[in-house]
Amino acid sequence: MSLGGAAVVLERDLLNYRRTWRGSLIVSFISPVLFLAAMGLGLGSLISHGQHRLVEGVPYLDYLAPGLLAATAMQTAALESMYPILAKMMWDKIYDSILATPVQVREVFLGEIAWLVVRVAIVTVAFFAVMVLFSAVHSPLGLLAVPLTILTGLAFGAPFFAYTANQRNDTGFAALNRFVVIPLFLLAGTFFPIANLPLVFQVFAWVTPLAHGVALVRAATLASPIAPLAAAVHLTVLLGYSGVGIGLGLRGFERRLGE
């Protein structure tokens, strides 16, 4: 099974990125600075007011930052796996022209997955660097947050690829954003402990990948102890969503583009 074509699909996405990387990278730095300043320092000063100076034993900014990091990976994955993919599939027909060459559908799919990982990695590293500047990373082991965040992005991006492969127009994207991405951003442990929520929201949070990603990333950057079993469950959920997503996405691409 040849995968050389996947590398060229990635190369094509990098050619595209080369045209926009400056602006995109600046946003990747500015956005976490704004969020951490406004919500971490600003809002956090209200939260840690009076006797309760800490949230779960740390300043609010330090608590918030890893949650935002994982949520940003989710949002980046959502952005990359919906409109751009459908455009190449349906509107600009880029995949049709690629598939007229020896490149196979699975190589197209894996190339796009590779680009998704690269894209999430860029955003993650930028965000992580900002966290270091805000002293929100408590130990060198916090570096583990980088691969864990990228995995969180993949756990969303891969199933979203499968979703996109089944869309005939873009209305489904608004629904996915409204009913999955935004609610998770708000409820999956990014801003406050999930245990504070009504049970139905807790269940919603824990059956999707973000809460698991947040838990792992937070444990890494705060160097806080985490039960091995809990860590294993979180990791399994992320790997499961990624693996199943890749399988379904590949099938979706084959069905959509194989005719």
């Binding site: 094509r12 027909k93 022209s97 060459t101 020896p102």
Partner: protein
């Protein structure tokens, strides 16, 4: 049935080729061969099955029935290996709007496995060939329709294909752009690049094709060189007569001795005949006075309309 002998030199060999989409049969059992060095055309109205046939030859659409060999190989087994030697110019422009004109060619070369240096060199050669060198660094979107078409043709040549597949290569282009494309295709043919093209422009088929088949409703209804088809399905000349709009002339007996076939259209009458001058003399002799008359040579268009009818196809 399966053990069809493949003539060893045919570039494409199809027998009983079928393409179905659900219950709809787009291509309904067609036979044809394309020989090395020739330009072969599929002519037909919209929906005749031309594009479906091209997509099967291009190994991007699985065959539903019958047998197909392309470059001596089976598309179901050797799709990637066949595609490596094909150049494809699709009907829609499918250019990559997110990268520059030159990078469109460069990355396409990379998809065919060319090294970066070779792909870059090839991109520059081809921009030269289609006269787009001065637009190399530009975006694709602002290019004119003719320029985009030339870029798509250049892209189809990036792997130096043995066989070029062109799906309606000049549809939507202005006359200057069409002639430039034809010129480039003619030069490619001189260099020995075999071509298979679809078109519904008769002048294009006459210009470019050595041999062609006329398709209608998924079937081949005629095959031959443009000249052969005109000889077989039309007459040497056509006399076109216009009468005043309110004249209700009797055409009874008009064909007798004057024309092999008469066709009455809302705005004119066509007489298919070997000798247009004799026919117009005969018309006058019978006391008919047309507003205008025109004698022209029969074209592929006459053949086409005779075979596929005049009703509108959607």
């Amino acid at each position: 049935m399966e053990a069809v002998q493949t003539p060893s030199r045919s570039l494409i060999h199809a027998r009983g080729l079928v393409k179905r989409f659900g219950s709809f049969t787009a291509v309904d059992g067609i036979d044809f061969d394309v020989e090395p060095g020739e330009a072969f055309g599929f002519l037909g109205p919209n929906g005749a099955g031309k594009t479906s046939t091209m997509r099967m030859i291009g190994c991007v659409s699985p065959v539903s029935g019958g047998s197909l060999r392309v470059l001596g190989m089976d598309p179901a087994v050797d799709g990637a290996r066949i595609r490596a030697r094909l150049g494809v110019v699709p009907q829609a422009d499918t250019l990559d709007l997110e990268i520059s004109v030159e990078d469109n060619l460069f990355i396409y070369g990379r998809f065919f496995g060319l090294s970066r240096a070779r792909a870059r060199q090839r991109a520059r050669e081809l921009l030269e060939f289609v006269q787009l060198t001065d637009r190399a660094r530009d975006d694709v979107e602002p290019l004119s329709g003719g320029m985009k078409r030339r870029l798509v043709i250049a892209r189809g040549l990036v792997n130096e294909p043995d066989l070029l597949l062109l799906d309606e290569p000049t549809t939507g282009l202005d006359p200057q752009a069409r002639h430039l494309v034809w010129d480039r295709l003619y030069r490619l043919k001189q260099r020995g690049v075999s071509q298979v093209l679809t078109t519904h422009y008769m002048d294009e088929a006459e210009q470019l094709c050595d041999r062609l088949v006329v398709m209608d409703k998924g079937r081949i209804v005629a095959a031959g060189s443009p000249r052969e088809l005109i000889d077989r399905y039309s007459t040497r000349e056509v006399l076109e007569l216009r009468f005043p709009a309110d004249a209700r002339i009797s055409l009874d007996g008009l064909p007798d001795g004057l024309a092999e076939r008469v066709e009455v259209l809302p705005d004119r009458v066509l007489l298919y005949t070997a000798d247009g001058e004799a026919a117009i003399a005969g018309v006058h002799q019978r006391g008919l006075v047309p507003v205008s008359s025109l004698i022209r040579r029969s074209t592929l268009e006459d053949v086409f309309l005779r075979l596929t009818g005049r009703s509108l196809v959607d």
